[in-house]
Amino acid sequence: MISGFANPERFMRLSAKLLPWISGVAVALFAVGLPWALYFAPPDYQQHDSARIMYVHVPAAWLAMALYAGMAAASVSSLVWRHALADVAARAMAPIGAAFTAVCLVTGALWGQPMWGAWWVWDARLTSVLVLFFVYLGYLALWAAIEDETRASRAAAILCLVGAANLPIVKFSVDWWNTLHQPASVFRADGPTMHPSLLHPLLVMALAFTCAAAALVLAEMRVFILRRRAESLTLRRRRAT
């Protein structure tokens, strides 16, 4: 599978087959997860129905971080091994990661209003996510500023790797500093502490978000590769005449 993605031709064939399946799974998971999370799951005993924001907020936060980690991995393989698909992958993940970061920020703010009485507080978790958002923006701005694709991808890869230092800060900010934001209750060394009646719909929603993100990334990669092909075609045609 991984080697199947190594070469653009094979990637196009494989992804064409995979894409409908992944999209289908995402739709199915949403069909199960959304009603479960928003209706059937028990309301939180303190927070009542506002706690249901969690089912969007938490998966969005996870994907914001996961996509950045993916970009960093792709950047390494693009810088070190000059992998042809790696920079396409990194470039495709960036806007989607930025969007999930924005969703995480907005849902967090919406949740903060009833919970903390403020849309926003400058604690370490919130600040570090905001910084993550700015890193995403900078990454996209740098891509936009360089028209030559290989140069753009290498410059952006450097930026991405430097920015990766922020990722552990986002993750562990709740442990390292006193934050208003609560610490992790799912991904913990000693296992999840969340009640299963909340945990299970959350996991379904997280899976649904993940599949949706994967489908979006694959689709965007395909667009990039097709556009590259179209460009080299016009180039060849211009030379032939």
Binding site: A118, W120, W122, T127, L130, F134, L137, A144, A145
Partner: protein, 224 residues
């Protein structure tokens, strides 16, 4: 007639250079949000200050953004020889300076002003006063660019133009900054803000009257 064509031609060119490379006003916008975040970063534990100081922080962010944009306002055109070509014309450099000022205002100042309500909300300011705050920033950024352009023209082509511009310009920015921040703060706290806002507008008008001849004279000096 021909002065108008010339003026809009230069104005449009400045705008398209400022927004070049896709994204239009997105870059200045992202930039402003970043700048607006710097204040709270620095305030840290003194967070309780933030809503009270929201207007001040946004005004400072606007000042920073202006200073950074000013740095290249004339320098690049001077070094690449564009100003020489513009100078050899029936149209006065004064008109060129005015076109550049207005274009910077539209390209950088107005997007920032438009975003400021968002920034104010993040800092916990009440929504009611934010339109007035945005208005004050829009007027203020015109004053900033007009007055700042004088410093930019004076420093263009000199060593360390960046810092030099900042120093030349800081005293002129003080007046609009003080009145503007006051107007913004009053607007956010629901007080009457017309008086300081009018004072900001007055500095903007003063700048618009003064800047074109001052810039043109400075640029002619640098052509030598």
């Amino acid at each position: 007639m021909s002065v108008l064509t010339a003026f809009t031609g230069l104005f449009r060119r400045e705008l398209s250079l400022a927004w070049a490379g896709g994204g239009g006003a997105a870059l200045p916008a992202a930039f402003f949000l970043g700048m607006a975040a710097l204040g709270p970063f620095a305030l840290g534990e003194n967070l309780d200050v933030a809503p009270k100081a929201a207007a001040a922080i946004l005004w400072l962010a606007l000042a920073l953004a202006t200073l950074l944009a000013l740095d290249r306002m004339f320098q690049a055109d001077l070094e690449e020889g564009v100003l020489e070509q513009l100078a050899l014309s029936a149209n006065p450099l004064e008109a060129g300076a005015l076109a550049k000022i207005l274009a910077q205002w539209v390209a950088v100042g107005l997007p920032l002003a438009g975003l400021s309500p968002l920034g104010a909300l993040i800092m916990g300011a009440p929504p009611a006063g934010t339109p007035a705050l945005a208005l004050s920033l829009a007027v203020g950024s015109l004053a900033f660019f007009a007055l700042g352009a004088i410093g930019a023209a004076l420093a263009a082509g000199l060593k360390r133009a960046g810092l030099l511009i900042a120093i030349l310009v800081l005293p002129f920015l003080a007046a609009p900054l003080i009145f503007g921040a006051a107007a913004g703060a009053r607007a956010l706290s629901g007080q009457a803000f017309a008086e300081p806002l009018l004072l900001v507008a007055a500095t903007a008008l003063f700048g618009l009257a003064l800047a074109p001849p001052a810039c043109a004279a400075a640029l002619r000096l640098h052509l030598d």
